[in-house]
Point group: C3
Chain length 114, copies 3
């Protein structure tokens, strides 16, 4: 039951989106027990983003929401992996990428809560 929202101020082509989807689907396995089989993704491109008061740089804001909790070590690995993906695929500098985690207690799917 993870969800990853990716907001960037650059354009994401459909081809690139498919690549990001596949790479994030692999990266989520860095959180024990999580796989692409339960992963939902959202991509928002050409967003109006600012970092340090500037909008001219390429910027990314990623939110990872998981049901339950994970270790600091697992989150550290996932931050590294997602940062590398966005850096390689969208040419966004690592120091212009925020990745924020949310541990969720109540999460519904298929009409019921887990």
């Amino acid at each position: 039951m993870p969800f990853i929202s990716t907001k960037v101020n650059v354009k994401i082509s459909k081809e690139k989106e498919e690549i990001l989807k596949s790479k994030l689907g692999k990266a989520i396995e860095l959180i024990p027990g999580k796989t692409e089989d339960w992963l939902m993704l959202s991509f928002d491109d050409q967003c109006n983003l600012y970092f340090k008061g500037i909008s001219e740089d390429k910027i990314a804001f990623v939110e990872v929401k998981i049901f339950g909790k994970a270790t600091q070590a697992a989150y550290a690995k996932l931050t590294k992996a997602i940062t590398d993906i966005l850096n390689q695929e969208l040419d966004i500098n690592s120091d212009r990428i925020y990745i924020k985690y949310e541990e969720v207690e109540h999460w519904g799917w298929n009409g019921n809560n887990f």
Copy 2:
């Protein structure tokens, strides 16, 4: 002080949006003390969503944010209600709908925090 964000990858017509608005305004009463009188809603249609690595299915990601807390039983009822609404009105399969809850401690309205 609840807020419900509905993100789907299908189109929502203005007529359909009004229906969803009314039904969600009723459903929120399943959380004790919450009514449409304090409910804010956001609808994002035609989002770029993937579930299980696939974007061709109809998909919904709903976030319910409430000031304070509620019981598991109340959340379970609301999950059932919202799932039914999206299934009936937008023809999204129940097993393609995530509903995530966030309990909020600090919430401002009208210039002050509750």
Copy 3:
């Protein structure tokens, strides 16, 4: 490591967005230790929002996400400041503005978590 997302149902011109950016960059200093140097902003205008079942009013939903915690007093000041900014710059009534806070435990930047 703060992030402020501003969703409104009115149009935000580029000139107005720059003004909002500057004012929010100053307002964030009301949270001790936070400055525009680490602030990321997102602006979504012309959103499909409803409050109290109505979409005709001007409406704003703001999410402030910070790494770590702050005091109730600091949040109260920031709510007042952000409400005033949106009221003055976008002519949104204070009682049509929600400001929600999220205290984040795990936050990544530049490939590592704080």
